[in-house]
Amino acid sequence: MSGELRMPSVRFRKEREASWRELEGLVDRVQRIGLRSLSAEELGRLPVLYRAALSSLSVARAIALDAALLAYLNALAARAHVVLHGGREPFSVAFRRFWAETFPRAVRSLGRHTLVAVLLTVLGVGVAWRELARDPARFSDYVPPAYAQGRGPEATDDDLRQVLQAKETPRSALIQFSSILFTHNATIGLASLGFGFAAGVPTAYLMLVNGLILGAFSWLYGARGMGWEFWAWTLPHGVTEIWALLLCAAAGLRMGQALVFPGRQSRLVSLQRAGDTAGVVALGAVAMFLVAGLIEGIFRQTVGAPAVRWSVAGGTFLLWSTYFLFAGRRR
């Protein structure tokens, strides 16, 4: 019987099957062992075979009625697609581009949202100052006991000053302290970013609470005449840390806005765009939290001279603002 000759797909498969099998073997190896397991020649064949498989798939869809063949070609194309398009840039290139362009640009695109986060924090600080001036006993309403660690209206001046001073501490304890600070702050930052998805409300709340805590502490030290010392203690790491937190909150607020007011785009697309910025900001902010954690955990504990503390605070502020304002601008 001349069945085979009259079935175009049988001949089609016979002619092309070898190249599919070759691609299948390469894809299988890349997925199991890695791209490095391919020789230079095989690496060159990969995109050629992939495009051939895609063309086989579209031809098969047009001429073949063999369901098993269509399923196989589809699976082959899908796997090869992941291998070819799931690839990344070399790490060093991606790393450099991220810091030189992607991150500062993402931060600049969040100007208005950052302003809102700043205003919410300032509002928290203002409320704390005003309320505590009236009734210092409310301190514990604003600062959780885990944060206060004995600092409060009932603590003595000496106790309060004690916290601000540099101490002799073993190195391993400093490293531990830094890592606690880093992971704690970064988790709060990422949480306030993620919370943006809930229409931004929890993010705004977190910014307010943060402002309340900052306001409560600065009021406490200010009322005892130690205001400058307090800021010299807080700002060297605080500049970086609070900035990173504000950026996370800004990205979170942007996400909330994208969800509630998608504008002319579909809700899904607008959320996706906001998520793109959020991913970039999350990566950058975590690095900032790491820097802040090291300053706070090591520098602050060991260096007590106000002049040094103030210059670190001023220096980091200048550095970050220059970086965010000017890095990665298109000429």
Binding site: G3, L65, A68, G194, F197
Partner: protein
């Protein structure tokens, strides 16, 4: 192929759409639990390792390592980026994260996807387990809110079409099954067909859908288990095409594989001429073909 409701088209940059099957919610749950388990094992392993190296302040150093490792593994998609959208858990359950737009899975979307887990799971769990540590005077009912919160976000993949969780929505990603690559034999080239001949009008009744259904039946093989199904299908087809058994006596499997080859040859040739018939004609005599049969008209 599984039911169409779980298959999604993905447009490749080359312009050829690929079909992918969505990962089931169960597979994803198992993958996530496996990953969390492995993460804990890794943390404990490193903790013990650092302590075993001995020396002053090792406990502090070990807990520092533990904290940072937990944070990094929990919030950063290291595996997703290195293994092209898979983590150890996802690899074990054969699922994969891909970009919904068909391009590469970028670092930023992988990060965004992961960070959202803070909102969906980790933070509410923290509130649930230790509310007082987060803020002074958190009322106890907040634990209940946090619990409902977790449930609501966990239910999100169950109520949308593409099984997207909040992280997928934000990152523009999709979790799909990594399809097995298995090329079955070509039934059209298989030996063991009889010399039966079919008339053209007998081959113009069925369409591609019936052909592929027949293919599925034939692929179960000429076995004892499959015997009743083969017989039933053969009788059905013989009745429909008005088959008059001639001099040669053939078994149902032989009949069906011969009919399959003839039918596929006929339909594929029509395809070459640009006529695609999806379904069989409902009734031959009705003037004006039913909408189900597109194209072919005599």
């Amino acid at each position: 192929m599984t039911s169409l409701s779980t298959v999604r088209g993905l447009q490749t940059p080359e312009g050829v759409p690929i079909q992918l099957e969505l990962a089931s919610v169960g597979d994803r749950l198992v993958a996530a639990m496996l990953d969390i388990f492995l993460m804990n094992m890794l943390g404990i392993f490193l903790f013990i390792l650092v302590i075993l190296t001995g020396g002053r302040g090792r406990l502090q150093l070990a807990s520092a390592v533990l904290l940072v490792v937990f944070f990094v593994v929990r919030d950063f998609p290291i595996f997703e980026l290195r293994w092209r959208g898979q983590t150890p858990g996802k690899r074990a359950t054969r699922i994969r994260v891909i970009s919904r737009t068909g391009g590469a899975l970028t670092a930023r979307s992988a990060v965004a996807r992961n960070v959202l887990r803070e909102l969906e799971l980790f933070q509410p769990l923290a509130i649930l387990t230790a509310p007082a540590a987060l803020a002074a005077g958190f009322p106890p009912w907040l634990g209940l809110v946090a619990g409902l919160w977790v449930v609501a976000f966990a239910a999100l993949p169950l109520v949308n079409r593409d099984h997207l969780r909040a992280g997928d929505l934000v990152a523009g990603t999709l979790v799909v099954r990594a399809p097995p690559m298995l090329l079955l034999d070509d039934l059209g080239a298989a030996p063991g067909r009889s010399a039966l001949q079919f008339r053209v009008d007998q081959l113009d009744i069925y369409g591609a859908y019936e052909l592929q259904t027949l293919e599925a039946v034939l692929r179960l093989g000429n076995t004892l288990d499959n015997g009743p199904a083969l017989t039933a299908v053969a009788e059905q087809i013989q009745k429909r095409i008005g088959w008059a058994p001639g001099t040669e006596r053939v078994g149902p499997y032989e009949f069906l594989s011969t009919f399959y080859a003839a039918q596929r040859a006929r339909l594929e040739q029509r395809l070459l001429l640009g006529e695609r018939r999806e379904r069989k004609r409902v009734a031959a005599a009705v003037p004006g073909d039913p909408p189900a049969s597109t194209g072919t008209r005599k």
